[in-house]
């Protein structure tokens, strides 16, 4: 009973948590109201706590844009295929590194961790992807980041915490290493896999730069690229005096604030909905992954 007693410290903590939540929820609430507002309200600015005039025009426009749908398709493909492949290969690598009898294990682990401190840079990466013939393919969005050193280390740590005895008993029962990995290690590691999977899903969903660089085929543009185009158009003064003649031409392409908000909402909502379902793994996974070094 003493545990649930009211205390000022607790009240302050809850108050802070409520405020913290409000900073996140309010932003989304404002965005939702903005997306439901006609342009003259949206332009006025200020915080919108309720839609002063509701309209679904913005959503109609977003839904009517075929690039949004194409983008959805492409984003889904890269997210699903990318996450599954990445998770599988990262876990395999992590499993090997988690085994104490793996020769020169420390060297190989450090070898992989070493890559976290450097990056090849944009141009070498581009050249690599180009020479591999991956330009304009889904593979260019998935293969370069197939294994992340950071995720691998986290999964490895989790695998190390699994009792070796289970695997030994499996071996006695006649299971091979691959079978043990698939049927025992992976199911036992759901929390960490779910956590990493969530990172990967969010990463794929939000990533745009690789598409910008590697993809020039408009039918393979992902959602974020489409969103970026809609949001960024006209936000920067790219006109100089020489382009001034095109001012009128330029203006008509600028998206209204409400349309931008609707776009953000449509593209962000699915990924937002994924969080609650993985959350129970999330807390557990992070804790275990981080505590065991």
């Amino acid at each position: 009973m003493a545990k649930n007693r009211f205390s000022i410290g607790k009240a302050i903590i809850y108050l802070l948590l409520v405020l913290l939540t409000a900073t996140i929820v309010l932003a989304f609430w404002h965005l939702l109201n903005l997306s439901l507002s006609p342009s003259h309200i949206a332009t006025k600015g200020g915080l919108l706590l309720y839609p002063r005039e509701a309209t679904l025009d913005n959503y109609a426009k977003v839904i009517g844009n075929r690039y949004i749908w194409l983008g959805y398709k492409n984003t889904l493909i890269r997210t699903v295929v990318g996450t599954v492949l990445q998770l599988f290969f990262t876990a395999m690598g992590a499993y090997v590194l988690s085994k104490k009898f793996f020769p020169h294990r420390t060297f190989w682990t450090l070898f992989i961790v070493f890559t976290m401190f450097f990056s090849g840079g944009l141009i070498p990466n581009y050249l690599l992807v180009k020479e591999l013939g991956l330009l304009n393919t889904y593979a260019s969005m998935i293969l370069p980041g197939l294994i992340s050193a950071y995720n691998m280390v986290i999964i490895r740590n989790y695998f190390q915490s699994l009792p070796e005895e289970i695997e030994e008993s499996c071996l006695i029962d006649g299971a091979g290493r691959f079978r043990i990995f698939l049927q025992f290690v992976l199911p036992l590691s759901k929390p960490i896999l779910a956590t990493v999977a969530l990172w990967l899903v969010v990463g794929h969903w939000n990533s745009w730069f690789d598409v910008l660089i590697y993809i020039s085929d408009d039918t393979k543009f992902t959602l974020q690229i489409v969103l970026r185009r809609i949001i960024l158009t006209g936000s920067k003064e790219i006109l100089d005096t020489s382009a001034a003649a095109n001012a009128a031409e330029m203006e008509s392409v600028v998206s209204s604030e409400g349309l931008k908000a609707a776009c953000i909402f449509v593209t962000t909502l699915p990924i937002l909905c994924a969080y609650p379902f993985v959350q129970k793994f999330f807390v557990k996974g992070i804790m275990i992954g981080s505590l065991k070094g």
């Binding site: 332009t43 910008l212 970026r228 790219i238 382009a243 003649a245 392409v253």
Partner: protein, 540 residues
């Protein structure tokens, strides 16, 4: 037996196949990839314009080409293009987005150069158009200027464009009409001197021009503040950009450190002290991140009385143009009511009678098409022949520029055109796809010139406005982007911005002006000034 027969068959087939290309070489179209200024990608299934353009080029002009339109997102154009240039996948024709980029490309040897004679031979009509001072010959005086601008080390690297409106200040002071009315100021009594301007800013701040009984208004926004530098004959880049170079006693001086800048800052500091300026003027409510750049939110929503963030094209007068009013005007009316008014204001004049805003020249090379160094001279010749075809064949020009009449555009009585789809949709079907091949806003024919400038109502509005006597004196532009140490600007601009803000806010006394000038010089300003003077000496 069987195996050898098959082998014989295969060999025979291979011989036939090997012969085909030689036999067809005559009819093989020249492949040209082009990445111009686009609003969205071309949809290959819907693209009706590019094939039609190719057909017309072949049938009417005997030019057999296969044009591939490449979409590169505008927001990251330079970045994507650089990657592709390095990877060897850049298109044949692409844009140099500024003179600086053009120079970089030239230095790196990634763009093609050619002789003036080569251009003259392959595109005689375009050449004549430019040499003749454009469609109406009114820019004949700038012919020498274009040669200089388009050449590097005696070779052409770009085809420049003539823009009649290029020498007009792009921005204009826009006042809130309701505030002026409340204070009894008319268009005639708008401030024409710095003193009157400061007085009006005081009234905007103190006399409750919005009538809400609260002290919640300020005089002017940061862009309007910047216009005061023009009153002293300077062109400032305060808050993020490069400042203009001005000539003082036969030497080039940067506006940042010109003695007059101290006087402007003294005026601004006094205004700040009186509360006429929003304390958050730098980040303030001028351009809001993510929204259309020319909208001054502070002015539109009634915090500032005047702004110079937009051009008159963005605030078009209903009685002049009878159209939707432009991007900013639409917002202004949406927020303030359809009856609300805005007023164009004259630039306030300083003690020597100077006033204005930075201006460009009617000859421009920025945002021009450049040609991949990898292409052969033959291919470049074909591209120039295409340019010439676009300049001489109005039907072809209209097809690429506007699409098919009735489907993509309609002709208005006054000679302008009305587009029937959004820019993105037009791009998807191929309109503007070839724009780097025919020039687009760099018009090479009378039709193109008229459509881009003389039939354009917004330009007409601008021409009429700037023809008024009191606005015809502009700062002389001696700016050059060709300085070798161009990258030093980043550092000196930061120093300038920090010092200016401190001077205006009174955090630093103007007695320290000389100290600031020394800092500026030491950070690279001196090198830049020396280079600018060397450039200036070479020009004269």
């Amino acid at each position: 037996m069987k195996a050898s027969r098959i082998l014989a068959l295969v060999l025979a087939l291979m011989m036939v196949i090997a012969l085909v290309p030689t036999a067809m070489a005559e009819d093989e179209p020249v492949k040209i990839s082009v990445a111009g200024y686009m609003f969205g990608p071309v949809n290959n299934d819907e693209d009706v314009i590019t094939p039609a353009v190719e057909k017309m080029l072949k049938e009417k002009h005997g030019i057999n080409v296969d044009i591939e339109v490449v979409y590169i997102e505008q927001g990251s154009y330079g970045e994507i293009l650089n990657t592709r240039l390095t990877g060897g996948t850049a298109p044949d024709v692409f844009l140099a987005q500024s003179t600086t980029t053009l120079n970089t490309y030239y230095d790196q040897g990634v763009i093609k150069t050619w002789d003036e004679e080569f251009f003259k031979t392959n595109a005689p009509d375009v050449y004549a158009f430019i040499m003749g001072g454009a469609a109406y010959g009114d820019l004949a005086g700038d012919v020498e200027n274009w040669k200089k601008a388009s050449m590097r080390d005696g070779k052409m690297v770009v085809i420049p464009s003539f823009k009649p409106d290029g020498s007009m200040p792009y921005k204009t002071l826009i006042y809130r009409g309701d505030w002026l009315e409340k204070l009894g100021v008319t268009e005639e009594t708008l401030p024409k001197t710095v003193e009157d301007f400061v007085t009006l800013m005081g009234r905007f701040t103190k006399e409750d021009p919005d009538g809400n009984g609260k002290d919640d208004t300020y005089g002017c926004s940061i862009t309007a503040m910047k216009s005061l530098f023009g009153s002293y004959g300077l062109g400032t880049g305060f808050s993020g950009s490069n400042s203009y170079w001005v000539v003082r006693d036969g030497k080039i001086v940067n506006s940042d450190v010109a003695p007059e800048a101290k006087e402007v800052l003294a005026t601004l500091a006094a205004m700040y002290k009186e509360g006429y300026i929003d304390p958050e003027f730098v980040a303030g409510k001028e351009s809001v991140e993510g929204s259309y750049w020319a909208i001054s939110h502070g002015m539109v929503t009634g915090t500032y009385g005047v702004s110079a963030n937009a051009s008159i094209d963005h605030y078009r007068l209903k009685e002049v143009l009878n159209d939707d009013g432009g991007r900013c005007a639409t917002e202004y009316w949406a927020v303030n009511g359809a009856d609300s008014t805005f007023v164009y204001g004259p630039w306030p004049a300083g003690p020597n009678g100077d006033y204005g805003w930075e201006v460009g020249t009617p000859v421009a090379v920025s945002e021009s098409a450049v040609y991949n160094a990898k292409m052969s001279d033959e291919k470049l010749a074909v591209i120039f022949q295409i340019l010439n075809a676009f300049a001489t064949d109005d039907e072809l020009y209209m097809l690429a520029f506007a699409g098919i009449e009735g489907t993509h555009y309609e002709k208005n009585e006054d000679g302008t055109i009305k587009r029937l789809m959004t820019n993105e949709e037009l791009n998807a079907v191929g309109v503007w796809g070839c724009r780097s091949l025919y020039g687009a806003d760099r018009a090479f024919s009378k039709l193109g010139y008229d459509l881009a400038f003389y039939n354009d109502k917004t330009i007409a509005n601008r021409l009429n406005w700037f023809k008024k006597d009191q606005y015809n004196s502009y700062i002389q532009d001696a700016v050059t982007e060709t300085l070798a140490s161009n990258d030093l600007f980043a550092e000196v601009n930061t120093i300038r911005d920090e010092a200016y803000v401190a001077f205006i806010r009174g955090e630093r006394s103007l007695d320290e002006w000389d100290a600031f000038v020394n800092e500026w010089m030491a950070a690279g300003g001196e090198t830049l000034t020396n280079e600018a003077n060397a450039w200036y000496a070479a020009q004269n």
